[in-house]
Structures are given as C-alpha cells and as structure tokens.
C-alpha cells in the first residue's frame, strides 16, 4: 500500500522464518526461505543488535523518524529495555504502535508462550473444524497468525487515520486469540441465544443444499457446489445427466434434501466422479450455480482467473532467482501497485537507512558494525 516499512533484524537473533533447509547448495542460508520472502516483500531490512546499548539508541532515534512501530515481543520485554509504547511515545508523541501477542499485553496469562496452532485451540477455531459427528480435527493452518496480521493491519491503519485527523498517536494492543474469536461471532451468538454449543458443520452451510465438495475425475480432484434454489437444483441434476433425481421423493424440495443429506451427497458424488472438473465447473456456472474446483497450491498459480488479475507476482530474488510472491489483499483503483520489490537480504538497507535517516557518516556506520551494534 506504499508505506516504507523498515524491518529490524539481527544476525544475533535470526528471524525464525529465515531458517529452513537450503534450496541451493547444502549450507544453511538465511536468504533461502520462500516463506520469509512472501511475507516480507517490499520491506527494507536493517541489522540492529537489541542487546547492544548503542543499537537500542539507534532504534530510539529511528522511532523519532517513523510514523508507526510494529512489534511482537513477549509482553513486558520491551518495557525492560525502554522500548515500550510509554517510553517511545515520549520520543515521538504522535507515534502509533502496534503490539501483537498471543493473548494480549495485559491479563493474568499475558506472558504465556504462544504459537498459531495453540491459539487456534484456545480461541475456539479448532473446535469448529471436523466432519459432523466425528472427532475434532482443528484448523491445521497458521490461520490464527495470518488473521492476526490482517486484524493488526486494520487497527494500525485505523489509528494512523485517527492520527492524521487529530494529531494523536496511540497504542494498538492486538491479542491473536481475540482477533480469532472476533471472526467467530456467529458461534458465540449461537451459544448466547440458544444455550447450545456449536459443533463442526463440515461443509454444510445454512440455506444451501446440496452444499459440499464432490469428487471429480482424477487423483484427489474435487469441486465445490452450493445450490440455493429449486431451479438451480433442477439444473444441477440436468447437467449431471440425471434430471429424474430432482423430483425423486427423497430430494424433491429443500427440506427433503436437508433431511437426506447423507444419501444426497453420496448420489451426487457418484455422478460428479464421472466428470472432468473444469468442464463440470463451467457447465454448472453457465446455469448460474455456485461451483468451483478446489485448487491446490500448484493450481492456484496457473488458474486463469488469478493469472489475469495478477494475484501472484513473479519477482527476481538475488539468491533464489525467479520466485512468486503474493499481491495485495485488496486493490485501489488510484494506485497501479506496480513497484514490487523482493524481500530484503538481512541488513541490506542498514547503511542507507543510517546515512539517509540518521545522517550518519560511513565511518560512523562502520564503527557501529565493528562494535556489533549494527549486526
């Protein structure tokens, strides 16, 4: 979205996402993790040692030149080194600071160690994933993390808007569990209105029947189909070559189809498994039926819709060469969003940021590198 984002790193404390098995050669290399490259595209990187007094002083000076700070240290740590919001807002009173943690900056459990899978359990996300009537499976995605990133970005931009209008800075406290709970509102209303606990719904969605993922020709090939109206139901049966199914006593209306969901899904699966995914997808869409192939990571990059929209972007990385990164979550018409940069090498911009923003000389920067403040 155009902000200049300076990532603070250190060779003394390598970002966990930089680690992993090398893709080129056999030696460990902090520049070879595509995960890191995807999440950090377009940023700058400076290497600053937080264990060095001089390093901390440099960061404090930088805070004076920035509009916002993002951090996700264990709550309490930044206060110990004089880098918490209260300390930094004395340097920059209009600062907006986003603190991201597992369960928040305050409260009896604020210092617990937390990762996305554990937080998915704590927030209730996991409890809603599974096949109806069977064991809970859990979400098994780092969704709590990515959802926290999205929620945090909204909080940060909203606070920046407020600052633009009022001149006032503030602290945004993002608890990953709270961010996850807030996208489960329906489950909480279900409980508070009916006093019953929502269980995994599988692929069932109220108002749509049939609604699910059905096998198609090929290995592990599936199509999502959601039927809303009687007309769509009749069309689906016709496209699948079984128009009689639409009027059979077990499936003739929404209520009957709901009651007989198990045998309905079975009957449809037998029919869809004879069809090629793409042909069936377009045939159903031509009838106005919500249908979509289930894409895997390999399909997503080649999918004509995403290709035409430029959802994923090819970029040259100095170590890994050509690689794909993901584009923006939303588009703004007044911005062409053409300027994409590869994820920074560790400390790639240290010199530029120190000289341009803090007006240091080359000698001063070199001395700070030698003293391990900038490393």
């Amino acid at each position: 979205m155009g902000a200049e984002v300076i990532k603070v790193e250190s060779k003394k404390r390598i970002d966990y996402m930089r680690l992993g098995r090398p893709l080129i050669g056999t030696d460990p290399d902090v520049e070879q993790n595509p995960w890191f490259h995807a999440v950090n595209r377009n940023k700058k990187s400076i290497a600053v040692n937080l264990k060095s007094t001089a390093g901390l002083e440099i960061l404090k000076k930088l805070v004076g030149k920035c509009d916002a700070v993002i951090e996700n240290f264990k709550p309490g740590f930044l206060a110990k080194i004089g880098m918490d919001y209260n300390s930094l807002s004395t340097i920059n009173p209009s600062l907006v600071m986003l603190s991201m943690s597992g369960v928040g900056q305050t409260g009896p459990l604020s210092d617990i160690p937390a990762y996305a899978p554990f937080l998915s359990g704590l927030s209730g996300l996991d409890s809603l994933v599974g096949y109806p009537g069977e064991d809970i499976l859990g979400i098994q995605q780092p969704y709590a993390d990515t959802n926290a990133g999205v929620t945090g970005a909204f909080g940060l931009i909203t606070a920046l808007l407020h600052r633009k209008r009022s001149g006032e800075g503030q602290h945004v406290d993002l608890a990953e569990t709270e961010a996850a709970v807030s996208v489960l509102g329906e489950a909480f209303l279900h409980y508070s209105m009916t006093n019953t606990v929502m269980e995994p719904q599988g692929n069932f969605r109220y108002g749509y029947v049939p609604c699910g993922h059905y096998p198609t020709k090929g290995k592990d090939a599936w199509i999502a189909i959601a039927v809303e109206s009687e007309q769509q139901w009749a069309s689906l049966c016709r496209v699948l070559g079984k128009p009689d199914l639409a009027v059979s006593s077990s499936f003739q209306n929404k209520e009957m189809r709901n009651q007989n969901r198990g045998i309905l899904d079975q009957a449809l699966s037998e029919l869809t498994s004879l069809r090629e995914t793409d042909k069936l997808f377009h045939a159903l869409q031509a009838e106005g039926i919500s249908a979509m192939p289930l894409l895997g990571p390999d399909d997503v990059m080649r999918d004509p819709h995403f290709v035409q929209r430029g959802t994923f972007i090819d970029i040259d990385h100095p170590v890994l060469g050509k690689e794909v990164i993901f584009g923006p979550m939303w588009r703004q018409t007044t911005s062409s969003m053409e300027n994409w940069a590869h994820a920074p090498l560790l400390g790639q911009h240290t010199f530029d940021v120190m000289t341009d923003l803090l007006a240091m000389t080359k000698t001063e920067v070199d001395e700070l590198i030698l003293s391990e403040a900038l490393i």
Binding site: G2, V69, Y115, L128, Y143, S192, D303, F326
Partner: protein
C-alpha cells in the same frame, strides 16, 4: 472522537463481507446507513434465533449490523439511492452471489456520485477476471483460494473454513482499504474504488504462503486430518479425558520440555524417534499419536493446560464456545460485549479484534429494525458533500504510489505477524 467519526457510510448488499466491513467502520465511529430493500436482507433469515425464526432477531444480522441505521429504499428508485450516496463519504457495495448486469450498472453509477467518494466493492471473485460474473458463495471462494484443499482427512472430502471466514477477511480488507483511501484523500483530494475479492483475500494472505513454498521449495502441503503436515511433530489435535487438546512444540527445546512433562518416558529415548520431521509422517506420526493419546486419557483439558504453562510448552486446550466465554484472560481484558435488540434483549458477542488505547471501539450497540430510520432521514439532511462537484473517473488519477506513501513504519515483528 473516533477514527471514523463524522464520516457517513452507505452500505448496500447482504453479503457477510460487506456487513463486516460496515461493522468495523461503525464500531470505530462512522455513521453507517444500511440500505434495506423491500425484499428482506438475506442475513435477517439466517439466524441463529433465540426461539422462533424472526427477521428482527437474527443473531448473524445483529452481529454484523448492530450500531448501524436501517433505511428502507426501493432499489429500483435510482434517484433516492443517488441522493443518498451523494451525501456519503464511503459506499460499501456487496454484490449478491450472481453478479448481474444490473448490479454492475448500479455500482458503476453510484461510484461516480462525487469525486471524493470512496467506494468499496466486495464480491466473491472480484470485478475483473474470467470468473468475475460467476456465481459465488463462501464455499466456492474458499475453494478457489486454495485453502480448502489442505483441510480434512486424506481420502475424504476436503473441509471448508469454519463459518464465513472469506467474508470476514474481505470485510477487513474493505475496511482497511477505506482507511487507506481516507488517509490519501486528505492530501490527494480525490476518492477511490477499493476492490475486494473474497477468494483473492483468502488466496493471498491466508493461502499465499503455501503457493510460494510450493513454487520454490516444491513443498506441497496436503491435508493430514488432525495434524499439520510438513512441520516437525507434534502439531496435532488429540483427545483427552474431557475433550481435545492441541499439541504443538515448534522448537526442539519445547519438545524436550513436553517429554519431561510426561515424565521422560522410555520410548522417547529410542533412536527411531530422533527426527521430528520423520515423526510427522506416517507411520511414525500415528505411533506417536497413540502414545500421547494413552497419556492424555488421564488429563482434563485444564489439567493439561496447567502443566503446559508450568513447563512452558506452547500447547493447550481446544476450547469450545461455552468455555471461552468464561476464560479468565478474556474476562480480565473486558473483551466481550453485547448487542441489543429492540425488545431490550441483550446477547453476548465478541468485542473488537484489536484494542486501540485512545479510541476504543463502541460497545453494546443496538440492532436496527428494518427501515427504522427511514422517517428520520429526509432530503434536507442529505447535504451534498461536494455540491456541484463533477463526478470523474477515479481511474484517471491512477499513479504508481500506494495510498500510504509517505508513511514510515519500523517493523520489529518476528515470524508471521
């Protein structure tokens, strides 16, 4: 003053994404007018309901629309809509599942109402691309995004995301886009169109990492039931005496502490369990799952969680909603709030996903009855924001700079966040 105070928003549509986008702006101060046609908003019929089906007591509608004003407008009366949008700063437009020509024309006209208008368009697949006119639902948006293929058991149908995650993520994208466009509007003096595709929102942020990993590293994450594949064991959900727990130790030191927590069982010293990556694959994973299941039989979720905290192991209970509403941590932070219906009934709902120290989100908001403010909003109140200003194509002010250009952020974050 809240961040969106004094901004007027007109919301059209009955998608969860557009509703959540409006909810976020409303929670942080915007005046949001929800346009309701003669046909009921679809969400009013979805529930949950406290007892009988009642369009004025829908839980999901209430969650998304509490705090907004409901205005009854016949959508065929284009002049009324024109007048309303002319007075707005932001238009939120959520399209129905079938992207009809009429909808396209309506958005096209309304988005040109005045040159400072910020129009947010939320749809399953976006405004461009070969599928843009295709029918879409939450299920199909998730399917296209690539996130669904990785959930569920091998050999069984993949599972979609719980509830309406594509809609919620699209709502966040729309609301964030609105804030960016407002920041830019102050200096650039023009509005914008923020375009959100539910599928793309899920594909980029939430499934994008799997694409990048596959493209360069050849790692294909496949669904592995209750486990997460391609990461060191354990990342798994297992049953205990009164429910389920999430067992997770990404770092070696945490794995060692987990084993200590179990009393350092003899099996854990065997050479065959040395590689945690091998442990994450069949048949080792099943073997280890069984050992943990046997041990967990004697523990309740909360006993297990207590032990995890003592040993600093980042694992814990899979909580259900009834447990979460009593969670000490959430209660101590006053996280939950309520929504009110016109009959005075209040129901507990999650609070804001992030807490802003000086401008907290509004709480205990009233769910609007259908058309409840129609009488209060008359022509006299609909002051034109920029009377006489000429509508112009926002595309004509396209530049390569992003809306946040000029802002500098120091990112001290680690890993994902």
């Amino acid at each position: 003053m809240l961040p969106f105070s004094e901004y007027k928003v007109v919301e059209i549509g009955s998608r969860i994404g557009s509703g959540f986008c409006g909810k976020l702006l409303c929670g942080f101060g915007a005046e949001v007018i929800l346009v309701e046609d003669t046909v009921d908003n679809y969400l009013r019929h979805l529930g949950p309901f406290p007892d009988v089906v009642d369009p004025e007591k829908s839980g999901l509608f209430g969650y998304l629309h509490a705090g907004k004003k409901s205005l009854h407008v016949n959508r065929r009366n284009v002049h009324e809509l024109d007048e309303l949008v002319c007075s707005a700063d932001i238009l939120i437009f959520g399209t129905a599942s079938v992207y009809s020509q009429k909808e396209t024309e309506l958005f096209d006209r309304l988005s040109k109402s005045h040159n400072l208008l910020i129009s947010i368009h939320i749809s399953p697949y976006g405004m461009t691309g070969p599928y843009s006119k295709y029918a879409g639902t939450e299920l199909t948006s998730n399917a296209l995004s690539g996130i669904t293929q990785r959930m569920g058991k091998p050999g069984r149908p993949p599972l979609t995301m719980p509830l309406a995650q594509a809609g919620f993520q699209a709502g966040y994208a729309g609301a964030s886009g609105a804030a960016c466009a407002l920041i830019q509007r102050d200096t650039a003096n023009h509005g914008d169109i923020v375009e959100v595709s539910e599928a793309e929102a899920m594909a980029t942020v939430h499934a994008g990492y799997a694409v990048t990993r596959f493209q360069r590293a050849g790692i294909l994450d496949k669904r592995a039931g209750h486990r997460l594949s391609n990461l060191p064991y354990p990342q798994t959900v297992l049953p205990c005496s009164d429910g389920y727990v999430e067992l997770n130790t990404p770092e070696g030191s945490q794995w060692k502490r987990l084993l200590q927590m179990m009393g350092s069982p003899e099996w854990s010293k065997e050479e065959r369990y040395r590689s945690r990556m091998k442990n994450s694959r069949s048949p080792m994973a099943e073997e280890l799952d069984n050992k943990f299941k046997e041990w967990l039989k004697d523990y309740t979720k909360e006993d297990f969680y207590k032990l995890c905290r003592e040993f600093e192991v980042p694992s814990g209970p899979v909580r259900t909603v009834d447990e979460i509403v009593k969670d000490d941590q959430l209660l101590s932070r006053d996280f939950f709030t309520s929504i009110r219906f016109h009959d005075g009934e209040r129901y507990l709902v999650p609070g804001s996903g992030c807490s802003l120290s000086k401008t907290p989100a509004k709480r205990d908001l009233l769910v609007p009855r259908k058309g409840s403010v129609s009488e209060q909003i008359n022509s006299a109140e609909r002051n034109l924001l920029k009377s006489g200003s000429l509508a112009k194509e926002v595309a004509s002010v396209r530049s390569s700079a992003g809306p946040l250009q000029g802002l500098r952020v120091l990112d001290m974050g680690w890993v994902w966040a």
